[in-house]
Symmetry: C2
Subunit: 409 residues, 2 copies
Amino acid sequence: MVHINHHYLKLRAGYLFPEIARRVNAFAQANPQARIIRMGIGDVTEPLTPAITKAMHEAVDEMAQRSSFKGYGPEQGYGFLREAVAEQDFRARGVDISADEIFISDGSKCDTGNILDIFGCDNRIAISDPVYPVYVDTNVMAGHTGPADESGRFEGLVYLVGNEANGFVPELPSEPVDLIYLCYPNNPTGTVASRETLARWVQYAKASNALILFDAAYEAFISDPSIPHSIFEIEGAKDVAVEFRSFSKSIGFTGIRCALTVVPKQLMGTAPGGERVSIHQLWNRRQSTKFNGASYVVQKGAAAAYTPEGRAEMRGLIEFYMNNARLLREGLTAAGLTVFGGVNAPYVWVRTPAGLGSWEFFDLLLSKANVVGTPGSGFGAAGEGYFRLSAFNSLANVQEALQRIRGVL
Amino acid sequence: MVHINHHYLKLRAGYLFPEIARRVNAFAQANPQARIIRMGIGDVTEPLTPAITKAMHEAVDEMAQRSSFKGYGPEQGYGFLREAVAEQDFRARGVDISADEIFISDGSKCDTGNILDIFGCDNRIAISDPVYPVYVDTNVMAGHTGPADESGRFEGLVYLVGNEANGFVPELPSEPVDLIYLCYPNNPTGTVASRETLARWVQYAKASNALILFDAAYEAFISDPSIPHSIFEIEGAKDVAVEFRSFSKSIGFTGIRCALTVVPKQLMGTAPGGERVSIHQLWNRRQSTKFNGASYVVQKGAAAAYTPEGRAEMRGLIEFYMNNARLLREGLTAAGLTVFGGVNAPYVWVRTPAGLGSWEFFDLLLSKANVVGTPGSGFGAAGEGYFRLSAFNSLANVQEALQRIRGVL
């Protein structure tokens, strides 16, 4: 008799984004004339830029010629991309990361989920609240939690609450933890971590032999020069952290699929007998056994983002989305809402007006303004009473959404 | 203190393909003039065909225009590809599989490894020997085994031995098992399973509530019309099997990355309380949470293989490689070797001559003929005394390899 992984049964049926899709579809069917503006999922809308398009065309042509055809690539990614990342994303910022510490993949969602494969089941897990739901769900699926309570919190996880009092930057945990998920610039709140905040986490992790899983998927959107783009800008972080990065938002690759994970070679975990084991070797073994590398065509496209033309085009895309974020932040503030984020991140995080619950505000905006956002409570219990709007949209849609939202407040 | 997944430490350091690479590199460095012919890894050598190249170029262009740009796709794959697969790979062969039972991914290696996520840790696992090493290694990594013995066999796995007596088609297990890996056409032996053989497995699985993980990555290479391409050609298989398929070998996608997994909606597993749970829903939840879909450009390329031009080009590729397989089979037989496979699969499986061990024969061919193959023992204890040669190469290389091998026998 084949047994299932029963931990999946602990997951709540009403997963955030499908539940949003269900409500939006129901509304759209009942109101076929409504022009719905979707600012829920953080999905890019601007096309691939010319440098990237050109590189991908060239890669397809290479694959169409026997002399330049490529079969299996390295599971860890091609050297041309790993080198470009190491040089431009790290060494150019004074961070000593080598190409072979960089693992190219098909997405950060995959990497942040799959990384649990290499850790034991007996770690105490700390996760921010509110947070990107994948961290929680993959831990539930891996059997690292008990059941959820009514607010959706899972037994056995240590929740690090972000709220207005701490500026949505949680304090260090008050109980011992082993694996810590941090995400800055933050999804969903759009807040950033200062150098001092990150240094405090690195110090904590060192003192307790903990490991930080640092999600930097939105680092390209940082404009404040004092804010670190990488946790490895903090002294000692290479002893305690893994970092996830993504091409999804910075160069419009949500449908193209490319990301990377940085695993320093000096990073160690502990085996049951106390033996210290290289996390880099474990992740390399995991990827070599369960992954076959990202598509060559995709990696060539990503590498084009490191050419001077590609860099300039990427900056253009980011400026475009961050102008949307500014408009949202300013427009919603002018409309009387309390707004966070939107400065160094493409998300604005709004306190719902008049004490409305997150889903109540969602339904209000959907039905009256035909604008879709994401209820804060979908990101965790501490997100209740908040709402996320994404800056990934056309300028015209952002302007119209603002006008409509103002009309219903 | 962060604990690692200590099951990884049970894996043998000398993983098959890296060990081959190590020996080949050492030989190449010592003999820089040697022109080494690589027939070890089953990696395609022929370029992408025109229909596929054209579709990928068009997809890149779509992504370069705001009006046709696509962000996140469905995690399960685009409808256009799922429909084409369901229609042409299944319904056209009289097999009732619907598009929403097909999950598009970035590779069969990923899928065959990741599928374990949705099963419990208490299943008894049966794996053929010799076999594609990923099935064993992913079970070791998931903690489903004890340590390995000297022959490399892991405690707790049920090995289904294929040998000359049973034509490399293992018998049913003599002890109860819950999860069964089958791979036909077989990697590494190149043998196929008849309709009767598969029917026996389906019957066994039904009787014992077991589940078959059927790897059909090489189905496109079947020429004998009596051999099933899919386990779902067997009555009742939709109650007991998941099937993996790949675009890697059939249309040259090892570097492009696309595969698919078929999970029938009626397939059920058992929760600890005895509750029956849909495997389709579990896999959908796994993929939605830990995967973000295959690249749009890649899926458009794969879909082009289902156009009349694409079909014809694919047949051309397969005929090309199967002609190589025929030459290898005939040439090695004429040289006095005992040869299996190579008729409905792109691999030939050779009994090593003069009682040489698999690695001894590997070293002999490498050093004397400068030809690289794969030692059978790398695929499991039962592969000792055998050797795999891949038909994925140029005609000229196959001909020269044959001549050189004949010269050293």
